[in-house]
């Protein structure tokens, strides 16, 4: 290991050290604020460290790591999202009884796993990253162990995620057996000269798709999503929706483009089918949903359906569109779950749409944040979601994916319906129920989210420039 190696791994080191330090601190002096402050600092430090890595990239630590602009970009997104989740968790956890400092430890390990996925260039790191992430998530989901629903969600996620991991692993094994390498770049070279991919390889990719499809909550591996989103604490749900999915997407894009999956017809068709099904099933399931967490879960299924269209474009621009989409999706999802977690109390999770009735007239700013998030999810102009969808459709059309684009259009309309339902109830006549007051931290986070949505919606040029510059494989 050289100095450069260590330098380029510094974010991971920080992320790995932080939970250890927290553990030590807790064992000496248990204080929620201290742990929280330290966590924030660590994440910020990790983000800052990225700036120092920039000069040395691309740097490969053979055979597992590949630290390049693409991975750093994703790590940045992941870390910022994690930071926002931490901010939102602060209030949410504060009102809980019992032990809550450990939450941040687990959050760090899972963020570590997610970040590892972004630099993975090898099945081993792929597997380890995804397992680190998932294993931490089991705990996070079941973190409110006094609640039935939290435990139920945890066990469901555990069983299903394990099965999907097993599939992923088996698929990796099959690919390894065909080409004798677990490194993406080696696989790429091996495949380049083949006219026809070996069946075993395609089979392997198919099984990996199961694992990845599960993590991204794509149909038909989506069934867990609503239950887990509902059962998990709201910040954790937002974490699953953003960090977990983003990281898996990062490694999947890299892997998929390395093996040029879009060139293979059967993979192409399977992914198209999954995409179309995800859009329709996700949106249709949402239209009558009364629980807002489940609704967002279904919406995330549909959104991931939109997103994986981009895999089939097979172009760098497609990746950029996907990243832009992911970023806006992260922001809006965190915003939406943020509102939920800020409005939740110890006794009552603010998850029924009924509880949002008349929110606008009681807490206008919160309602506006929620409205912007939902409009962004629906892809209405002046929100980031609109530009993101535009970008996605643009690249999809460039690649001639007409059927997928049209089913996306149809689904945008269906989707609009249930987003409007929530908005409508927020703007209708108020009911009597009381809402908790929102802390400054929560307000700042939401304000950040809203401003980002607006800025990206009206003036997205700079981010696109940024993505074009940095997010290249």
């Amino acid at each position: 290991m050289t100095e450069t190696d260590f330098l380029s791994l510094s974010p991971f080191l920080i992320l790995a050290l932080a939970p250890i330090i927290i553990m030590i601190v807790i064992s000496i002096y248990r204080n929620y604020e201290v742990v929280f402050g330290f966590s924030v600092l660590s994440i910020v430090a990790a983000i800052v460290s990225i700036v120092f890595i920039l000069p040395v990239i691309p740097h490969s630590i053979a055979p597992l790591f590949l630290v390049d602009r693409y991975s750093l970009f994703f790590i940045t997104i992941i870390l910022i999202s994690a930071l926002l989740v931490i901010f939102l968790s602060y209030d949410y956890l504060k009102q809980l009884d019992g032990i809550r400092e450990e939450y941040y430890i687990i959050l760090f390990t899972s963020t570590l796993g997610a970040s590892l996925l972004a630099v993975a260039n090898h099945f081993i790191l792929f597997f380890l990253g995804i397992e680190t992430l998932t294993l931490s998530l089991y705990i996070l989901i079941a973190f409110e162990k006094t609640k039935d629903s939290s435990i139920e969600a945890g066990i469901k996620y555990l069983v299903l995620a394990s099965v999907s991991s097993a599939f992923l692993l088996f698929g990796m094994g099959l690919i390894y057996i065909t080409f004798g390498s677990m490194q993406f770049s080696v696989l790429e070279i091996a495949i380049r000269h083949l006219n026809q991919l070996p069946l075993l390889f395609i089979f392997g990719v198919g099984m990996m798709l199961v694992g990845i499809g599960f993590k991204l909550a794509l149909v038909p591996f989506h069934m867990w999503t609503p239950d887990v989103y509902q059962g998990a604490p709201a910040p954790v749900s937002s974490y699953i929706a953003t960090v977990s999915k983003g990281a898996v997407m990062a490694v999947f894009i890299r892997f998929f483009f390395n093996i040029r999956g879009f060139d293979n017809q059967s993979i192409f068709i399977v992914i198209s089918g999954i995409a179309v099904l995800s859009m329709f099933v996700g949106n249709l399931l949402a239209i009558q949903q009364k629980n807002i967490k489940r609704l967002l879960a279904y919406s995330s299924i549909a959104n991931m359906g939109y997103l994986i269209i981009i895999l089939l474009t097979g172009s760098d621009k497609g990746i950029q569109a996907a990243i832009f989409y992911l970023i806006t999706y992260f922001i809006t999802t965190i915003g939406a779950f943020g509102v939920i977690s800020l409005l939740s109390t110890k006794e009552l999770e603010a998850e029924n749409i009924e509880e949002y009735r008349g929110l606008f007239w009681k807490k206008p700013w919160i309602a506006i944040v929620m409205t912007f998030c939902l409009l962004s999810l629906a892809g209405i102009p002046i929100t980031a979601g609109f530009i993101a969808k535009f970008y996605l459709i643009l690249e999809g059309m460039k690649a001639g994916l007409w059927i997928l684009i049209f089913s996306m259009i149809i689904n945008s309309v269906i989707g609009l319906y249930y987003y409007l339902r929530v908005i409508t109830s927020m703007f209708s006549v108020a009911n009597e129920n009381l809402l908790p007051s929102v802390s400054v931290l929560g307000k700042v986070t939401l304000a950040f989210v809203t401003i980002s949505i607006l800025v990206l919606g009206v003036y997205p040029g700079w981010l696109i420039d940024f993505i074009v510059k940095y997010a290249i494989l």
């Binding site: 066990i155 469901k156 069983v159 299903l160 099965v163 999907s164 599939f167 069946l199 395609i202 089979f203 198919g206 099984m207 798709l209 199961v210 599960f214 149909v219 038909p220 591996f221 069934m223 867990w224 609503p226 239950d227 017809q265 059967s266 993979i267 068709i269 399977v270 329709f280 099933v281 249709l284 399931l285 239209i287 009558q288 269906i414 319906y417």
Partner: protein, 625 residues
């Protein structure tokens, strides 16, 4: 002098605006005098302009004035411009002069009515529109006036809006005339697209230059314009609205539904005579319609009970005469009859108005009786009107005007015996039903007592009109009786002269026949309705009587053929079936939601099963591919 022409329609319009804008601040009397006075001034102006124009004839045939450019789009241009020639002069004169008399009468007639200001506003608007109609230089402006008078007719028929029936009658009038108007506007389209102008004179010149007589385009255009004329002038088959239009106040019936508006069709055909001469079939058709209408309406008039309805059918019938004259190319005769008809029919309506007002809204002639003694002024003027209507030989104006038509129906190059016979039968019917009114309403014993006597405001116009009904005819005397052609010389400045077959020496014979027919009609009326023989009673209860009474069942037929299907059409799809498509789409989404939602049952093993199923499908697909 020219600017005065613009003032003629402008005065009533100004008065209308004053009445509308200051409706809250004017007293009832003042409003009436403003309304009537503006028309009076307009009448004076008309006379001044007339004298000027007539003295300039025949060197200058018309005065023309353009107020402003209405629109100019591409090659389309239309101005707000007026043109006064001898034809419009006659119309202007009748409109302003008779209009003034009727307005003055109305001050008395509407004295008690709460809506008197509204009434005069509408009336002024009507006069203004009517003047625009007859003065307009381009056909689009004619159409503006045409629709304007239609609107006023609608408003005035429904003037007493509290009775829903009045509204219905008004609506009927508007819709039926609108059907004709739509045909007319299509005709105007054809004219514009053929000649690139709306100017009537230009159109006429270009039409005679470009179109071949009897060509299909000329025929179609003529038919379409005729549609408008039929609607406005209540000719078969669009005549059914006029009897119902009697729901309006009597002055309205006198002015709009007897003297002026309903003759707009006559004006239109006379104005665009070149087109009709290019379409001889249509012109023959006009004569036929005129003959048919005058008979149908004559029979119907014979059986009515309502005083105003009798007069309404009589109006239809008399306009039938005018159409007959137009059809045979006797334009001056048609216009002459229009003028005389305006006098005596206005007189009759006004007199009837007095009767009805005085008898507290009693319309049924069989409940009147004996009015001769109670209201002598009304009786005598009514009698003069009826005599003029029945064309009592030599002494009444109606004789000269109707006789001219009958004569031309036979002697014109496009006339014929059939048309003449129809006219003669009509003349007989006219005399019969006119004196039926007289004998039933004014003779015999009184059945209803008059509540008060009409004031001078109402009786003076009656007297004036009676004078005109008697002596108005002497400006135009047939060859056999003095051969004085003041009127037709004037009219022929702007309209073609009728072509005559070589039968002129027999004119006196036919005049004699028609005179006898009229007299016999009066005598029979005396027999039937004064002496009251038994068989008249049985006739009154016969089916044929009923058939006549309902106007030959046109209303019923239209009800079945048009009204009910339209209502049915409106009713069947009230909720808009296309909406069901939306609903079914959203229902599909809801069903999809419910089906999928069943799968989200929270059971882990079920999730695993779908998981496994999904894998199986994907892997099987990949293997088989």
């Amino acid at each position: 002098m020219k600017t005065l022409i613009a003032l003629i329609p402008a005065l009533p319009m100004i008065s209308f605006l004053i009445l509308v804008l200051f409706s809250g601040k004017l007293s009832r009397k003042v409003a009436g005098w403003i309304g009537a006075g503006s028309i009076g001034i307009a009448a004076v102006l008309t006379v001044i302009v007339s004298v000027d124009l007539i003295s300039a004839l025949p060197e200058i045939k018309s005065y023309q004035i353009t107020l402003w450019q209405w629109m100019s789009v591409g090659n389309l241009s239309a101005d707000i411009s007026f043109r006064l020639d001898s034809l419009s002069l006659v119309f202007c004169f009748v409109i302003t002069f008779v209009g003034f008399l009727i307005h003055s009468y109305s001050i008395g007639f509407m004295d008690k009515d709460e809506g008197i200001i509204r009434f005069f506003a509408y009336m002024n608007l009507f006069v203004s529109s009517m003047l625009i109609l007859v003065l307009a230089d381009n056909i689009l402006l004619v159409y503006l006036g045409w629709e304007g008078v239609g609107l006023c007719s609608y408003l005035l028929i429904g003037f007493w809006y509290k009775e829903p029936e009045n509204g219905t009658a008004a609506r009927k009038a508007f819709i039926i005339t609108r059907i004709g108007d739509t045909a007319m506007i299509i005709g105007i389209f054809i004219l514009f697209l053929s000649f690139g102008t709306f100017n009537i004179q230009d159109i006429m010149h270009l039409a005679s230059a470009k179109w071949v007589a009897g060509s299909s385009i000329a025929t179609i255009t003529a038919v379409l314009l005729l549609g408008g004329a039929l609607g406005k002038s209540a000719q078969v088959p669009l005549q059914t609205w006029l009897p119902d239009a009697m729901a309006g106040p009597s002055p309205v019936s006198a002015l709009i539904h007897a003297a002026t508006m309903v003759t707009a069709g006559v004006y239109l055909i006379a104005r665009t005579n070149v087109l009709f001469s290019l379409a001889p079939i249509v012109q023959g058709f006009i004569a036929g319609i005129g003959a048919l209408t005058l008979l149908i309406a004559g029979f119907s008039a014979l059986t009515q009970h309502d005083l105003k309805r009798i007069l309404a059918y009589s109006t239809i019938s008399q306009i039938g005469y005018m159409f007959l004259a137009l059809g045979v190319g006797a334009y001056s005769a048609a216009i002459f009859h229009f003028m005389i008809h305006a006098f005596f029919k206005a007189l009759l309506f006004l007199a009837a108005g007095v009767v009805i007002l005085v008898l507290n809204e009693e319309h049924d002639i069989f409940k009147m009786g004996g009015l001769r003694k109670k209201m002598p002024a009304v009786f005598w003027t009514f009698l003069i009107g009826s005599a003029s209507l029945s064309a009592l030989p030599l002494v009444t104006a109606g004789f000269y005007s109707k006789d001219a038509i009958l004569w031309f129906a036979l002697s014109s190059t496009s006339g014929g015996v059939v048309l003449w016979i129809a006219g003669i039968v009509g003349a007989f019917l006219t005399a019969l039903y006119s004196f039926r009114m007289i004998f039933i309403a004014f003779f015999g014993e009184a059945k209803t007592q008059p509540s008060f006597q009409a004031g001078y405001l109402m009786t003076i116009p009656l007297v004036v009109l009676a004078v005109f009904s008697l002596f108005g005819g002497f400006i135009e005397l047939p060859a056999s009786l003095g051969n004085f052609h003041l009127f037709s010389n004037l009219i022929n400045q702007s309209l073609p002269v009728v072509g005559i077959k070589n039968v002129e020496h027999l004119e006196w014979l036919f005049q004699l026949i028609s005179s006898l027919i009229a007299l016999s009609g009066i005598y029979l009326a005396y027999l039937f309705y004064y002496k009251k023989p038994v068989f008249i009673d049985s006739f009154n209860h016969s089916k044929i009587h009923h058939f006549f009474e309902i106007g030959f069942g046109f209303d019923k037929v239209y009800d079945i053929l048009i009204v009910r299907p339209v209502v049915w059409l409106a009713e069947i799809d009230k909720k808009d079936f296309i909406d069901q498509i939306n609903i079914s789409i959203s229902n599909m989404a809801l069903i999809g939601n419910e089906v999928l939602s069943i799968a989200q049952n929270g059971k882990l093993r079920w999730y695993l099963l779908t998981f496994a199923f999904g894998i199986a499908v994907i892997l099987t697909y990949m293997m088989t591919k």
